[in-house]
């Protein structure tokens, strides 16, 4: 081999042996890289990222909304059936529909999550003694087997009980009337929610009733006097009563099918939107502006524990016990059952002793009581001494709602809470959002001579009843409803209090709608966060369990959406709760934590000592060899040219 050194030429082509060796080393590295990559990979269960994103987008663009139906019934006397009645009903439907959309146009007032999907679908029935005429929409549904949702006809023909009840409209009778309607409609429409009925009684009809009655009954004490409607009818006031089920009724002028006007339509629309759709919170002008993301005191899986505690502040003065078992059975069990569609509540109780409050009260001579001022209330709860915790809540992620009944010591009895206005609180209790409620209960006769009753007293159910009333009101407040059903004399609207269950059916519907929408939203946002987290941390191990939970959550959310369209309230709430619960479970899966022990820095520290020196050598070799090969080849080519 003759080689000319320097810029001279060479006669033989340069050898490729060493270049090939170097390249084969590089190649083996390149071949090994996928193997290494695969073998050091962590297990990641494939998550349906696309589906999560679609779900999130769907929720963002088109919120889940449950449909509502409004069924308006005109009760009328026998009328000759006419052809144009059907058209007339349609006109009424349109009128009400229009009014509803006008009210809903001021939408910023409302919490959109609890609204019905696209307002109400209005149906009208004319229930005369001889005619039962339904508007086209109602009739159309009849063919779609949705007839069960509507009341049957025959209200006008039933019996005189109704008439009597209608004529005497004190609040007691409202309750009876409510029950009457309930039994009348019972079994005829589905009790799952979303279908509301307004029964209209025209003034004229009532007058006829009362005249009939006058005619029948011989003993009459000035009949009309007990009937305020006919009196107020002149003032064009309509009496509106919202029942504790899913119906309301209106008494007053212009409520006949013929005399029906825009004013009455607006009245009905107002009733439907304010109460059936939004829980009766927004009455008139005093709109409570709630924060948009109003949350319910429930855990992700829709559970909460109502923990009742009787706090004996100073047992050496007196010791009280309570008949809680009975209270629970009589008052709380119906409430728990009523809320079961959207909230699974559990009740537990305890009696605690030596639990002084954390704030000092002062004696107010004018009020003849010890007073805790309004601005001290946030410090009332004594977290050190009130051991309210529960071990059953610790096991899960349940929400705990405390209801503490505080029995003050003898030296601070009677104890009253002062409102910010300076008056004394009527309920003597307050709520703390997300925590629960506190009620101060003063033992009777504690101002008198110091009693030597250090032995146990038991608070009977009767004594506890007002307290439980306050508790129910507090619970309603915590769930975002007014403490009691509004009796608004300004608009002449009255509510029938749901004494047995604390929550009216239509209020449960409102809460259910809100909860279901929130659940679906929360599931979407949780899943979206999870997918962001997962994609931002490529080293994170993702167990199959997480993947399964995510998939089931998406399935449940989809089911919720489908159920919502078909108007199945309970199924929607169940599916939505499931979607949220599973999403949360996936997000809080403990196996995600293992990432903490295997950070990216470790990998760097482990691989650098190997890859840096080896790759350095390889790169240098490749560069040197290839540059040498090029140079030698050039000189060889030059040599060839020179030969030529």
């Amino acid at each position: 081999m003759e080689v000319v050194v320097g810029r001279s030429t060479r006669s033989t082509p340069p050898g490729r042996k060493r270049l090939l060796i170097t390249l084969s080393v590089v190649l083996s590295f390149l071949l090994g890289t996928p193997l290494w990559w695969k073998s050091t990979e962590v297990y990641r269960s494939p998550l349906p990222f696309a589906a999560i994103e679609t779900h999130a987008n769907q929720v963002a663009s088109l919120a889940l909304a449950l449909p509502c139906d409004l069924h308006v019934i005109f009760v009328a006397l026998p009328i000759p059936p006419k052809e144009e009645d059907q058209q007339h009903l349609q006109v009424v439907v349109d009128q009400i529909q229009q009014q509803i959309s006008i009210i809903l146009a001021h939408k910023e007032q409302f919490n959109s999550s609890e609204s019905c999907a696209s307002g109400f679908q209005v149906h009208v029935t004319l229930d005369a003694e001889n005619v039962c005429l339904r508007s086209r929409s109602a009739a159309g549904d009849q063919q779609n087997n949705k007839v069960a949702k509507f009341w049957p006809c025959g209200l006008a023909t039933v019996d005189s009980d109704l008439q009597e009840l209608l004529l005497e409209s004190s609040s007691d009778d409202d309750n009876l009337l409510d029950e009457f309607f309930w039994s009348f409609s019972k079994g005829e429409y589905l009790a799952t929610g979303g279908c509301y009925t307004v029964v209209l009684f025209d003034e004229d009809l009532l007058n006829i009733f009362s005249n009939e009655k006058l005619g029948e009954a011989t003993v009459v004490e000035v009949g009309n006097q007990v009937n305020p409607i006919s009196k107020e009818g002149k003032g064009k006031r309509r009496r509106r009563v919202v029942g504790k089920y899913r119906h309301a009724w209106m008494l007053g002028p212009e409520l006949g099918i013929l005399s029906f006007g825009r004013d009455a339509a607006s009245d009905i629309a107002d009733l439907a939107v304010m109460y059936f759709s939004h829980g009766g919170r927004l009455s008139g002008k005093d709109v409570v502006v709630e924060d948009k993301e109003e949350s319910m005191p429930l855990s992700a899986d829709g559970k909460a524990i109502l923990s009742f505690s009787l706090l004996n502040a100073e047992p050496s003065d007196w010791i009280f016990d309570w008949a809680f078992e009975e209270v629970e059975q009589r008052f709380l069990q119906p409430l728990v059952e009523a809320l079961w569609p959207f909230a699974h509540l559990f009740v537990e109780s305890q009696v605690l002793y030596y639990t002084p409050k954390a704030v000092q009260s002062h004696w107010d001579a004018a009020l003849q009581s010890h007073v805790v001022p309004f601005k001290q209330l946030p410090f009332f709860v004594n977290a050190n001494e009130w051991h309210l915790d529960s071990s059953s809540a610790a096991a899960g992620r349940s929400k705990l709602l405390h209801f503490a009944i505080y029995v003050p010591a003898a030296k601070e009895c009677p104890l009253h809470l002062q409102l910010s206005t300076g008056r004394i609180s009527q309920t003597n209790g307050f709520t703390s959002p997300g925590w629960g409620g506190i009620i101060v209960w003063n033992p009777p006769g504690c101002l008198g001579s110091s009693t030597d009753n250090s032995t146990g007293h038991q608070l009977s159910t009767k004594e506890l009843e007002p307290l439980i009333g306050v508790v129910v009101a507090q619970l309603r407040t915590l769930f975002g409803l007014p403490p009691t059903v509004l009796d608004d004399s300004k608009t002449d609207t009255f509510g029938v209090p749901a004494t047995a269950r604390g929550f009216a059916d239509w209020e449960v519907d409102v809460l259910l709608r809100r909860r279901a929408v929130m659940d679906v939203h929360a599931s979407a946002s949780t899943l979206a966060s999870l997918s962001r987290l997962v994609s931002s941390l490529p080293n994170m191990v993702i167990m199959d369990e997480i993947g399964d939970q995510v998939t089931s959550s998406l399935t449940a959310a989809k089911a919720a959406r489908e159920h919502a369209i078909s108007g199945a309230y309970h199924a929607t709430a169940d599916a939505a709760r499931k979607a949220r619960g599973l999403a949360e479970a996936a997000f809080f899966q403990p196996s995600i934590m293992s990432l903490l022990y295997f950070p990216a820095e470790h990998q760097l520290a482990i691989y650098t000592p190997f890859f840096v020196p080896v790759l350095l050598h390889m790169l240098v070799a490749v560069i040197k060899e290839s540059s040498r090969y090029r140079r030698e080849r050039r000189s060889y080519l030059r040599g060839l040219q020179n030969q030529d």
Binding site: V3, V5, G6, R18, I21, T22, V25, P315, S316, I319, D321, F324, E325, E328, E348, S349, Q350, V351, Y353, Y354, H387, D389, S390, S391, S392, A394, A395, S454, G456, A605, I606, P609, F610, V612, P613, V614, L616, H617, M618, A621, K624, E625
Partner: protein, 689 residues
């Protein structure tokens, strides 16, 4: 003889009544508090607080509203279907020799150091482990302790034949767990009065944690999930057992100083009792005088002693028990309070009565409700004469230790030494001539003393059960000659501990029993070591029981023979027949502790070697020696020669004159250099490790 028979009948009646009483179902929730004080022979005082919370059966008395019973505990019972559970937090070691071992209080409350938990569940067999796991988590939340470490099945035993219970039993111990006020506070939270009123007001934290022994205990028993047995209520017993040394008082006479120190509630706790918990159905302080102490006092009293009592006038009749004035006698003076009643121990059996093996113990009861802020209860003893006494001891005392050295193997040795004081041995006195004296402390037909051993060893101490040797008084005996039964469950790595349960029967006159078993030390993974791995690993205490001995103790009024049955939970607790239990010490095993930075060192080292290998291989493969030599030849002496090479050639000195030599050697030199550097690094690393 007739007298004896009638006495026996009376006693039988008493026990019958007692049996009925112990199954008495409370109609209402009941809470009671008791404090037992007992002077100990070494001048310390045992203070045993017992709080009992009884709950009537749920089925007959409504379900879940409780006036006094702690909600948290009841929820545990309901959720995990607990039949029985006992949890103890202990600090300090019980001195069985000086403080006794045979009475119900000491036997039940002398617990191993750290946390001990056992529970009996009534759940399907496949759910027991999950239930146990959940329970440990719930308890660790409830008591602010790391009980949740007991969830790992590797340190939880399933005792087979111990305790004789119907449900599924799990046993676990954490010998390292430290006990502090953070455990006491949640324990107090379970009491209706917490530490606001009643006996708990005595619990001044600095005092009780400065004591010599401190054991916080919870015992839960529920009849609700008893499938076969009768439906029963739930009882929760919370006890705190303390051994305290009274703080110094100036009034101890010089000659007594070495023996006893005067004490009172105030001197023990820095507080006096000002009243009971208003929720407690009974609230009593009991002062127990051990039988042997009473005997010593009686002996002292027979000597001529004239003393004019300072506090009390002539002792009234009721204070004189067995010729001993319990309030004011030559041995001591009871200070600041007079007992509401005085009780005397009823001998357990006819034999005990006849042989008078024990002088009966005395119990002085004080009703806390009689005292107030103006007149607090501050009961105490002021010693007048040095009296030495020995508490009742079990038949054996126990030591356990490790033998062997190094990190590879060793053996566990258990030595039981006979207590000469134990009355169990009174049978060995019997002689062939006097056959009538065969009435024994033990059951008839028993041919020796039974000892049950329960030992649980974590898997990393690998016991070789075939090496188990039993030596009686220096004579090795075959295992089958002494073992009545034996149950061995070998350990499984990281899954279950080794459990050794056996019952030995040894002759009465045995004075030393020793057992040894060899083991290998296992290797733990690096992440299985605790943070301070160099400290070693604690092995839980072994438990010894003596099946022939029961600890029940009953009290009756002094001057009547029997018929006094006290249904307060305190006396019920004393009456419960339980086996005498003795725990051994914990053991500390050293395992080979790894250098925790080693994995990273190994990685770095291996990688460096690999990198060097790769680099040099590549260099060698592509090096062209001939070509380089020719290049070198062209540019000799010029700046092209590497500086290092010139240095080396200078170093090699004279021979570098010949340029040819240098040129052939340089690549070789380079290689040698690289290898030597690599070797240097390697050696450095190895030395560094």
């Amino acid at each position: 003889m007739r007298k004896l028979v009638s006495l026996f009948l009376a006693l039988a009646l008493v026990f019958h009544v007692i049996r009925v009483q112990s199954q008495r179902l409370t109609e209402e929730e009941e809470f009671s508090e008791d404090l037992l004080l007992r002077p100990l022979p070494d001048g310390k005082v045992l203070a045993h607080f017992l709080f009992t919370n009884l709950l009537p059966p749920v089925k007959s008395h409504g379900h879940h509203h409780h006036r006094l019973f702690p909600k948290a505990i009841y929820q545990l019972v309901q959720k995990y279907h607990i039949q029985q559970m006992e949890l103890s937090f202990t600090q300090g070691r019980w001195d069985y020799q000086r403080w006794g071992a045979l009475d119900p209080i000491t036997s039940a409350n002398a617990k191993p150091i750290g946390v001990e938990l056992w529970a009996v569940f009534d759940v399907p067999k496949d759910k027991v482990d999950a239930t146990w796991r959940n329970l440990t988590h719930a308890l660790s939340g409830l008591f602010c302790a790391s009980i949740n470490f007991l969830e790992s099945p590797a340190i939880v035993a399933t005792p087979g034949l111990q305790r004789g219970v119907s449900g599924y039993l799990r046993y676990g111990a954490l010998p390292r767990e430290a006990v502090c006020t953070e455990n006491l506070t949640p324990w107090l939270k379970l009491l209706p009065c917490r530490d606001k009123a009643g006996l708990t007001t005595l619990l001044e934290r600095p005092r009780i944690y400065n004591g010599h022994y401190h054991s916080l205990r919870i015992h839960l028993k529920s009849g609700e999930f008893n499938k076969n047995g009768p439906e029963g209520g739930t009882s929760l017993r919370q006890s705190l057992t303390l051994v305290l040394k009274p703080s110094k008082s100036a009034v101890v006479p010089e000659r007594l100083k070495s023996l006893h120190s005067n004490w009172s509630l105030y001197l023990l706790f820095k507080k006096s009792l000002v009243g009971k918990c208003p929720l407690a159905s009974s609230s009593q302080v009991h002062l127990e005088l051990e039988g042997s102490l009473v005997k010593g006092l009686q002996n002292h009293a027979t000597t001529e002693f004239l003393f004019i009592s300072l506090w009390f006038d002539v002792a009234d009749e009721s204070q004189i028990v067995d010729k001993l004035n319990v309030v004011d006698n030559p041995g001591y003076l009871l200070m600041n309070a007079l007992p509401n009643r005085i009780l005397k121990e009823i001998p357990k059996s006819e034999w005990e009565e006849e042989q008078s093996v024990h002088v009966p113990c005395l119990l002085l009861d004080f009703e806390v409700q009689d005292y107030s802020k103006a007149y607090p209860l501050n009961v105490g003893l002021s010693w007048r004469a040095p009296i030495a006494w020995v508490p009742r001891q079990g038949p054996f005392r126990v030591t356990r230790f490790l033998t062997g050295s190094g990190n590879e193997r060793g053996s566990i040795a258990i030595v039981l030494k006979a207590n000469s004081e134990s009355y169990l041995r009174s049978c060995s006195k019997f002689t062939p001539e006097n056959k009538d004296a065969q009435v024994c402390a033990l059951d008839e037909g028993a041919s020796g003393i039974d000892v049950t051993i329960f030992e649980m060893v974590p898997w990393y101490v690998r016991l070789y059960f075939h090496t188990l040797k039993v030596v009686l008084d220096g004579q090795q005996v075959a295992l089958r000659d002494v073992a009545k039964w034996m149950r061995v469950s070998p350990s499984e790595d990281r899954k279950s501990p080794a459990v050794l349960e056996m019952q030995l029967q040894v002759p009465y006159n045995t004075s030393v029993i020793s057992l040894t078993v060899e083991f290998d030390k296992g290797y733990l993974r690096i992440d299985e070591h605790p943070p301070d791995a160099n400290r070693g690993f604690d092995l839980p205490s072994a438990l010894f029981t003596f099946p022939q001995l029961q600890t029940a103790r009953s009290y009756g009024f002094v001057n009547t023979t029997a018929n006094a049955v006290f249904d307060q939970p305190f006396f019920q607790t004393l009456l419960e027949e339980q086996l005498v239990q003795i725990y051994s010490e914990n053991l500390l095993v050293h395992l080979a502790t790894p250098d925790f930075s080693m994995p990273y060192n190994v990685i770095t080292f291996t990688m460096t070697v690999l990198a060097l290998y790769f680099g040099s291989l590549l260099n060698v493969l592509r090096r062209r020696l001939g070509e380089e030599e020719r290049l070198q030849a062209k540019t000799t002496g010029s700046q092209h020669a590497g500086k290092l090479m010139t240095l080396i050639s200078k170093y090699f000195g004279k021979r570098s004159d010949s340029k040819h030599n240098v040129q052939t050697r340089t690549p070789l030199l380079k290689l040698v250099l690289i290898i030597s550097v690599a070797a240097g690094i390697a050696i450095y690393y190895i030395l560094g490790l």
